[in-house]
């Protein structure tokens, strides 16, 4: 028998497998396919203060070993998440869920987090700081240590649950940003969000994505993600949730060796709806193959 349980900021999860925000909706598309209670938890669709339609279509482009998305945070808004999505989720999922929150100003982040903090099923916050700050000339909150810390401080003030700050990889020094979030009171760091990418159609000679640029994810970004998790692990003491291209139980172990306490699965859920379940099922055998009895022994093991 092997131990797959890990402790994520005071909550023990059965395994470190967490479907990533934006690739798992609010869970019930997948609950129609399998019992999603087999997962450690999952991070629900990025939620904002107001409902958002998101970006124009096409929003999706294929890439070698990955995809670009420019969904633009389509979500029903925090009120509908509280009143419609979470009650529906309760019927199919009986574990704490991770609330992924986005905002375009500090006030929006705090409004949404405060509104969700009282929801009993929410175990953690995952605050996505990759969004542009409308008051800051459109620069993303996640691109400077100061603004990432500002979001962290503001959200910590209005919440009682552990707060993970989800970092953007589109920066020159992710380590300084992670440290700034830790210093500002973050309980953990999630990384990485998508890498900015673009595809151009040779036939139309135009960008495939209506918004031209989008977020690149999938197996192609795995080495970048492993490297960033490794670097951030050296610099911070708080737990890390690692993600970016994870598609197998082997990838999960590699991510944990780099320093992740838990691992999110994103695009893989879209091309294979059973990916997260299969990774959960395969994990014990792969642990055994590599002589791992307890996942807790390997967190940061490559350092």
């Amino acid at each position: 028998m092997v131990n797959t349980k890990v402790n994520l900021s005071g909550i023990t999860i059965d395994n470190p497998i967490i479907p990533a925000s934006g690739t798992f909706g609010f869970g019930y598309e997948f609950a129609e396919l399998y019992d999603i209670n087999c997962l450690g938890t999952f991070s629900f669709k990025g939620t904002t203060k107001d409902p958002r339609f998101g970006n124009p279509t096409p929003r999706i482009a294929e890439c070698p070993m990955g995809m670009i998305n420019s969904v633009g945070l389509q979500n029903p808004g925090v009120e509908a998440v509280k009143n419609i999505e979470l009650p529906k989720l309760r019927e199919v999922f009986n574990k704490p869920v991770m609330a992924n929150v986005s905002g375009f100003s500090i006030d929006e982040y705090t409004y949404t987090c405060e509104a969700l903090d009282s929801e009993p099923q929410i175990g953690w916050f995952e605050v996505n700081v990759s969004c542009p700050n409308v008051h800051g000339g459109g620069m993303s909150f996640g691109t400077s240590p100061e603004s990432a810390a500002e979001v962290t401080k503001a959200v910590k003030k209005v919440t009682t649950k552990p707060v993970f700050i989800k970092l953007s990889p589109n920066v020159t020094d992710i380590v300084s940003i992670a440290k700034a979030c830790e210093d500002a009171g973050a309980d953990g760091i999630s990384l990485i969000n998508t890498l900015l990418g673009m595809r151009i159609d040779l036939k139309t000679k135009k960008c495939v994505i209506a918004n031209k640029m989008g977020g690149f994810s999938g197996p192609a970004i795995f080495p970048v993600a492993v490297r960033m998790v490794y670097q951030v692990y050296e610099a911070v003491k708080i737990p890390i949730i690692g993600m970016g291209g994870v598609s197998s139980a082997e990838d999960v172990i590699e991510m944990m060796l780099a320093g992740a306490t838990a691992v999110e699965i994103g695009a893989a859920n879209l091309v294979d709806p059973f990916a997260s379940r299969d990774i959960v099922n395969n994990l014990p055998a792969v642990m055994q193959k590599y002589g791992i009895k307890d996942l807790n022994d390997i967190i940061g093991g490559a350092h």
Binding site: I60, N69, L270
Partner: protein
């Protein structure tokens, strides 16, 4: 929706760049004509959505046009090859609204889903008229197959090299119908929208990340709220579409 393995039993060219693929496997999840499948191809990260052209208990028929790297690869597959398919995606057409004489309009690769729809309507004792629109003679396919089902079939070609010269809308003028169903390119939809005399259903395409409602990659706005083409569509009612 189910994830199923299907074995190719036939894969042959039936018109310019157009292939017909027959596969064997479990089709029990299909409930409406106009639903689609999402096919995993080796070396391509995203699956490829293709409409269900026809099916019975154990076989699935698809018709696809080679337009890029994925469909090019599909065209090279030989019988015996096994494909990983997500089957019975989307809402499909609702035939209850059809009336006695529905009109089916398929343009290019919008023709395939019309076939099983036509079959279903005839099995419901209705008398469908089918308009098949193509660019040129070399592109025409399935005229005979529709006729064999017992439908009244009209073919148009844009260059006049076969059938009625012009667009599907030129053939629509003299037809009486109670309702319409259509699938094809958006310019064709816009032309139909201008001349259609009844309610109807349009089947849309969009670039898809998942095909089963999880990623919000395929959203559109309708008069009845935001919808996902892959899950709440691909078929939308004429009344709800915002052009």
């Amino acid at each position: 929706m189910k994830q199923e393995l299907f074995t190719i039993t036939k894969n042959e060219k039936i018109a310019r760049d157009i292939y017909l693929m027959v596969l064997s496997g479990d089709t029990s999840d299909i409930v409406h004509p106009g639903q689609f499948v999402n096919i995993k191809l080796e070396d391509q990260y995203l699956r490829r959505p293709i409409s269900i052209c026809d099916y019975d208990d154990k076989t699935l028929t698809l018709i696809y046009k080679v337009v890029g790297v994925g469909t090019e690869k599909m065209s090279s597959y030989k019988p015996g090859k096994v494909l990983d398919i997500l089957i019975a995606l989307g809402n499909g057409f609702d035939t209850e609204k059809s009336g006695f004489s529905p009109l089916l309009i398929g343009g290019g690769v919008g023709v395939p889903p019309m076939y099983n729809l036509c079959k279903k309507l005839i099995s419901e004792s209705k008398q469908p008229t089918v308009i098949l629109g193509f660019n040129s003679r070399e592109d025409v396919f399935f005229e005979e197959e529709f006729k064999k089902l017992g439908a009244n079939v009209l073919v148009t070609t844009a260059d006049g090299s076969y059938g009625i010269r012009g667009f599907v809308t030129d053939a629509m003028k003299d037809i009486n119908y109670d309702y319409f169903f259509t699938c094809g390119p958006e310019p064709m939809f816009k032309a139909i929208e201008k001349v259609a005399k009844t309610s109807g259903q349009y089947s849309f395409e969009e670039r898809m990340g998942c095909g089963f409602g999880a990623c919000m990659g395929c959203s559109c706005k309708t008069k009845y709220g935001n919808k996902r083409i892959c899950k709440d569509g691909p078929v939308l009612l004429r009344e709800e579409i915002i052009w």
